[in-house]
């Protein structure tokens, strides 16, 4: 059964037999034998070095890559192409320079059929998500007036305004400075707790993964595949200096860097 018994929306099942890219010397195998089942409302982080296919995997779930062998299912339904049931945030904010913060967030509703949400509802939702990411005083600013962290907040609001069941984040904090990154990690947890969407976050930052995730999916390259899945059951908010936190971080580190290492799941 692919549908979650609890009836809550946002269950994702990923089955990818093979994903290849055309290279100059024939095909390059990007992903192989990926099977992953994510519960509704779960926070999953995928870690791995560059070239392990984690971004490709996220792009397949987002519907931006459609040429592959296999299928991605959301609440039991096979996904074809992009959809408003999934919100996406990239490493770059990808905001439209000619729109204000308010209109950039509203852009997330541009493709929604007119009858699906009334004008009042739309503008209420836009307000709500701008408030949620803490930018209510910056509504009428333009992207070039915002800092990197603020731009990413706008991108998160834009991804959420369509009320997706799944939020997909592709190294969303990688280009932020260390302090802003830590603040944004707290923020994304707060937003997740408020929205209760399923979250899939791709990162190369092990600490970020341990700080955020219910489960950490460790990927290895050539071809990109899942090496191990570690549940993290530490209570939130997590203390990065906590002994157990450090132990989990180290086991993921060993898994990624020591050949043949096996990480042990934390209790």
């Amino acid at each position: 059964m692919l549908t979650d018994v609890s009836g809550q929306a946002g269950a994702v099942v990923i089955r990818i037999a093979k994903k290849t890219f055309a290279g100059s010397q024939g095909e390059i195998l990007a992903l192989r034998d990926i099977f992953l089942s994510i519960s509704p409302g779960e926070f999953v982080c995928m870690v791995g070095g560059s070239g392990c296919g984690k971004t490709t995997l996220l792009r397949i779930v987002a519907g931006l890559e459609t040429e592959y062998e296999g299928g991605v299912f959301l609440d039991g339904k096979k996904l074809t192409g992009t959809g408003l049931d999934r919100g996406v945030v990239f490493q770059e904010h990808r905001l439209l320079s000619w729109l204000t913060v308010h209109d950039n967030v509203g852009f997330g509703l541009a493709g929604l059929p007119r009858q699906e949400r009334s004008r009042e509802e739309r503008s209420k939702d836009i307000r709500h998500y701008i408030d949620l990411v803490g930018l209510d005083r910056f509504e009428s600013e333009y992207p070039h007036q915002l800092s990197g962290g603020m731009s990413q907040r706008v991108a998160i609001a834009r991804a959420l305004v369509g009320r997706p069941e799944v939020l997909l984040l592709d190294e969303p904090f990688a280009s932020l400075d260390a302090l802003t990154r830590m603040r944004m990690q707290q923020e994304i947890l707060r937003i997740w707790e408020a929205e209760r969407t399923t979250v899939v976050l791709v990162t190369h930052d092990i600490e970020e993964a341990v700080y955020l995730a219910d489960r950490v999916v460790i990927m290895s390259p050539q071809p990109g595949t899942i090496r191990n899945i570690l549940p993290v059951s530490l209570p939130r908010p997590r203390d990065r200096t906590d002994r157990e936190f450090v132990r989990v971080r180290k086991s993921i580190h060993d898994e990624l860097f020591v050949p043949g290492g096996t990480g042990t799941p934390c209790h």
Partner: protein, 279 residues
């Protein structure tokens, strides 16, 4: 800027302050605002020119004094000739520019957006572009006669290429990452064009329009010099025939003023449209 960087800068500033000898306070420097600096050379040239002309050191039938040129413009204005000729020329530029820029917009839009249209039209248009547009004049005269049609066609041709090229290339180079955002939010093709592509290419499109307008003014001169019974170009030819350099110079000034004025209007519209963007 980080605090560390700021500190570093301060240290450098202090260090360099110690090294640079300070100017004695009793020497007053003449302070000229930067905006006025650019006026110094033209103003001096005009002054010297006027002086030399008044002293009779310049042959007045070749190079009349600036005040004489000024008076010529004034007389043309009073007689109503200025309005008539400037009006005719401006109308030619307006019609030619609208036709050329319109065609450039349609074809530039098509070739930028549809790969098929690009493959079909772009090679031919690029080939045509390599012909210097003035070279078409004899053919235009032969086919279209010496009246308005040939002039307008030449001006339109001048305005066409910059608009076409800028728009086509700009659409082709719209950031694929932004188009992906449109795809994620399931925009229709129409919405993609209206909400993403058009605003994204607007700055380059305006640049194209401005250079198209500039070329339209250039080609109206060529067209009117080659045969016209009215327009500023006609005034020039008339001045040449009757040996009145002041009329020729007055016409040059008129062309420059009108060209600059329309360009300024275009860039004002552009600034209004681009509003709050960065850059």
């Amino acid at each position: 800027m980080s605090t560390a960087e700021q500190n570093q800068r301060l240290i450098w500033k202090e260090a360099s302050a110690e090294l640079t000898p300070k100017a004695p306070d009793n020497i007053r420097r003449i302070h000229i605002p930067d905006r006025l600096l650019g006026w110094i050379i033209p103003a001096s040239v005009l002054l010297v020119w006027e002086l030399l002309a008044r002293l009779g050191m310049l042959p007045s039938n070749w190079l009349p004094a600036p005040t004489v040129v000024g008076r010529t413009i004034y007389e043309l204005a009073v007689a109503g000739d200025l309005l008539k000729h400037a009006g005719t020329t401006t109308a030619r530029v307006a019609v030619g520019f609208l036709l050329g820029a319109g065609a450039g917009t349609v074809l530039g839009g098509l070739t930028g957006y549809l790969p098929m249209a690009r493959k079909l039209f772009d090679p031919s248009l690029q080939a045509l572009r390599s012909v210097p547009s003035i070279a078409w004049i004899p053919l235009f005269l032969l086919w279209l006669g010496i009246q308005e049609t040939s002039k307008i066609t030449l001006i339109a041709l001048g305005a066409f290429f910059p608009v076409y090229l800028n728009l086509s290339v700009a659409i082709l180079h719209v950031d694929a990452k932004l188009l992906e955002v449109g795809k994620l939010y399931r925009l229709s093709s129409f919405q993609m064009v209206r909400r993403l592509i058009l605003p994204a290419v607007l700055p380059e499109y305006i640049v194209g329009l401005r250079s198209g307008l500039g070329l339209a003014w250039m080609f109206v001169v060529a067209a009117e010099l080659l045969g016209a019974s009215s327009g500023i170009g006609y005034l020039m030819v008339d001045g040449e025939m009757t040996g009145r350099a002041s009329i020729i110079l007055a016409s040059v000034i008129l062309f420059a003023t009108l060209g600059k004025a329309t360009d300024w209007m275009m860039s004002a519209v552009g600034r209004k449209l681009l509003g709050h963007r960065a850059r």
